[in-house]
């Protein structure tokens, strides 16, 4: 949308430039002050514009949790599903509507704890999904419990003495499961994040982008890390761009350096493409490619 199309006003000023991509009738959103999720949503909206996509070209699916609420604020066909199941739900969407782009927006607990099995299998099968994970190292909506990403020694309500269990490193997980495109930024890296979203939107296959983002109210406070603003400053000082980072360098400890960048960018046929190619080859003329859903 261009500014000129933006006819709505709020008070005496024009409505926000992304208002055609967002459900402004639902603002303010439920996320806390100094939470990073809104930034990621804004960057995706910007990426859509930059990629030349209309809101009618994409769907957004999310699961449960703070990030799970993203689906409710984007003005596209959007699905707020159950905890952990955003990916398999979106797998159904993607296979029934291969003509659209399908984005899964998920938190770390949703995506790789309860939904972990779906995550690795969707990556393995190279399903045609752009999966964006907002990683804030905790279960924020339920009050700050231990997440599969919580760094060792960080505190959570269910790890009151600090965590002693190994967290998942999400890019490593995605890479080892076979994802085609893997990147990580923090919520401070607004331009690179937007560019990465744009690039990933215009590709096929399983694309995974992790965004480290502040949870001000729960994670930062419980771990005495100041506010969300302090975490943003921390990202500014401690993130390092390294596209060829090793698996070890990608690990995140408690308040250690955060290596960001685009780590994998390869092309394999997506599940749907592989299916069409293989079945077409085996069955020849008997093969009828999958029907696309929607009114005939």
């Amino acid at each position: 949308m261009t500014v000129a199309e933006n006819k709505k006003t709020i008070g005496n000023i024009p409505e926000h430039p992304k208002s055609l991509l967002l459900r402004m009738d639902r603002m303010p959103h439920i996320w806390c002050s100094r939470c990073g999720i809104g930034i990621v949503v804004g960057c995706l909206a910007a990426a859509l514009e930059k990629a030349g996509l209309s809101p009618d070209d994409i769907t957004i699916t999310s699961g449960i949790g703070c990030t799970g609420r993203v689906a409710g604020y984007v003005k596209v066909d959007s699905f707020h599903t159950t905890h952990g199941r955003a990916i398999p739900f979106a797998v159904g969407l993607a296979l029934s509507r291969p003509d659209l782009k399908h984005v899964v927006f998920s938190g770390d607990g949703d995506l790789v704890s309860i939904g972990g099995n779906h995550f690795i299998h969707a990556a393995r099968r190279n399903q045609n999904l752009l999966v964006i994970c907002v990683n804030n190292f905790t279960y924020a909506m339920t009050g700050g419990q231990l997440a599969p990403t919580t760094p060792v020694t960080a505190r959570a309500t269910t790890a009151p003495y600090g965590s002693f269990e190994n967290p998942f490193c999400l890019p490593n997980l995605a890479i080892s499961a076979g994802a085609d495109y893997v990147a990580r930024w923090t919520s401070l890296h607004i331009r690179r994040m937007t560019d990465t979203f744009e690039e990933a939107l215009n590709r096929e296959g399983f694309r995974f982008i992790e965004i480290i983002a502040p949870c001000s109210t729960i994670y930062a406070r419980r771990n005495k890390l100041g506010t969300g603003l302090d975490l943003m400053k921390y990202y500014y000082e401690n993130s390092e761009i390294k596209h060829d980072a090793t698996a070890e360098e990608l690990e995140i400890g408690f308040q250690t350096k955060i290596v960001v960048g685009k780590f994998v960018d390869k092309e394999r046929p997506s599940y749907a493409r592989a299916m069409n190619r293989h079945l077409g080859k085996i069955l020849g003329k008997k093969y009828i490619p999958p029907e696309v859903g929607g009114p005939q």
Partner: protein, 95 residues
């Protein structure tokens, strides 16, 4: 007024015309995180003293002339409460 963040004057600063931006703040949507104030590369903003309806201090434009419409405030705002427009577009918009 020279921006203190430039350690030297760019060689081509006379030839390149910086865009001019105008910042808009949707005050009642703001939750006072301060991201825009902290990260604005031109130091255009400060947190205001006034409260909005929800009791937060929204940003206030104190150096409007410095804005180059870089979009950072819009992108980094988690609340969709601030953005800048190119001055030329605003003229078009005006009734």
């Amino acid at each position: 007024m020279p921006d203190p963040r430039y350690w030297r004057k760019p060689f081509d600063s006379d030839k390149v015309k910086s865009p001019k931006g105008v910042v808009y703040v949707i005050k009642d949507r703001c939750k006072g995180c301060g991201f825009c104030v902290e990260f604005c590369p031109r130091g255009v903003l400060v947190l205001s003293v006034e409260f909005n309806k929800k009791g937060y201090h929204p940003p206030e434009v104190v150096h409007p002339d410095r804005c180059v419409n870089c979009d950072l405030c819009e992108r980094i705002c988690p609340e969709f409460a601030i953005y800048s427009l190119n001055q030329d577009e605003i003229i078009e918009l005006a009734p």
